[in-house]
Subunit: 246 residues, 2 copies
């Protein structure tokens, strides 16, 4: 009885067409101007039909954010193939992270900058990928420490978070065109990356510690129910964001 299978295939096809339409609009005009009605028009369905595939507009963006993490992962993995030292690999991969922000500003915005959209929790489909990307980044730094590129006093997890935090700045500045015309965005990002790596090499004492046991962290957090387990790409569901709730 292949009817159910066919049904599932059809549902998947429509789901994919919604995501395709959303992605087209989103890459072309930025995600703020992607509306349910525009998507509906593209796929030749009524706006209401979309709500039997995605619970809300944000859920469409959540799916696109997952796609974004896949794209970022691919780009980062491809970077630094020609490097010899682990420190150079760290540099090349985090430079790729910055490049991604400028090549795919709409994705980057969704994944790291914008409010409320990617509600990334342990339940989220892309959570495992995210965890893998993070641990990969940490282990590359660990290799650099083992090779002697970074001092042994460097905490690889803190260093990973620092590189990430440092490069979000130049990325946001680039996406939002916050420099004077004539000033070089890439040069600023390069300087920031160099300074951070130099700072790590200089062996600063870091105070950032990551919570190894999320359950404990959640239980101990003051706003445990809201905070859930947001990480890097994710934010908790802000209270009162859904307009039509009350």
């Amino acid at each position: 009885m292949g009817t159910k299978e066919r049904h599932d295939r059809e549902r998947q096809a429509v789901t994919a067409s919604i995501l395709n339409a959303a992605r087209d609009l989103f890459v072309a005009e930025g995600y703020q101007s992607v509306s349910i009605r525009k998507i509906a028009e593209r796929i030749e369905y009524s706006p209401a039909a979309i709500y039997s595939y995605f619970a809300s507009r944000d859920d469409i963006f959540l799916a696109l954010a997952e796609e974004g993490f896949h794209r970022l992962d691919e780009k980062v993995r491809a970077a630094g193939a020609d490097t010899t030292t682990a420190v150079d690999l760290v540099r090349a991969r985090w430079w790729a992270f910055y490049e991604f922000s400028q090549e795919q500003p709409a994705y980057f915005e969704l994944m790291f900058v914008d409010r409320s959209v990617p509600r990334i929790t342990q339940q989220w489909d892309g959570f495992e990928l995210l965890q893998r990307m993070l641990s990969e980044a940490v282990s590359t730094i660990q290799r650099a420490i083992d090779e002697g590129g970074f001092p042994t006093t460097v905490n690889p997890n803190a260093a990973m978070h620092m590189l990430w935090a440092c490069l979000i700045g130049p990325a946001v500045i680039g996406i939002r065109h916050r420099l004077a015309s004539g000033e070089d965005y890439d040069a600023l990002a390069r300087d920031v990356l160099d300074a951070t790596i130099a700072g790590l090499k200089a062996g600063i004492t870091t105070s950032f510690v990551s919570c190894k046991c999320p359950e404990e962290g959640i239980a101990g957090a003051p706003d445990a129910d809201r905070a859930d387990f947001a990480r890097l790409g994710g934010s908790p569901v802000p209270a009162g964001v859904r307009r039509h709730e009350s």
Copy 2:
């Protein structure tokens, strides 16, 4: 004939009440949820009335952004009074920048993170203040170089941009709650600031150069008419943002 003066005073009073209402909503709920109708309700005017005081919703936010730069300026000036070295003063003032982002997230968002809102050009009222803040930040770094806290190879303007860029990351991560619960936002920001300062002390070669003559920069830029002279807080007017233009 005091009628004109009284008229002007009344206009100013209504303008102020619009800004007060906008600020109240904006600090309480974030600026995304500030609507013309909500402001109108607060000041007991019709929504349309607001348009004889501000040309658009964004112009209200532009005024609030200017206010934000004043607040930031005050906070930064007050910081580091107890420091002895210029490097410590640099650290204290940029730490104040980060603190401002967490204490006044709505202002910070408006000033540095969000799209399209602060269209800050040379014509803008707050431009002079911004220029003064920037040159103050640069000269503090220059003092640190003169004192021997930073190597003489450090370009103070590049260093200022680097510190700014580095701290925007932790600020955005904090505003958007992008860490796992249990992880310490302030610790991450502190580590980033320490690493950047350590990197500067280590004497990296910067490639960022600032355009000293904005006119030339504008003329030379590919999209000169759109780019104008956006700086730090500012972004050019994005094409087609105003919905009712065409």
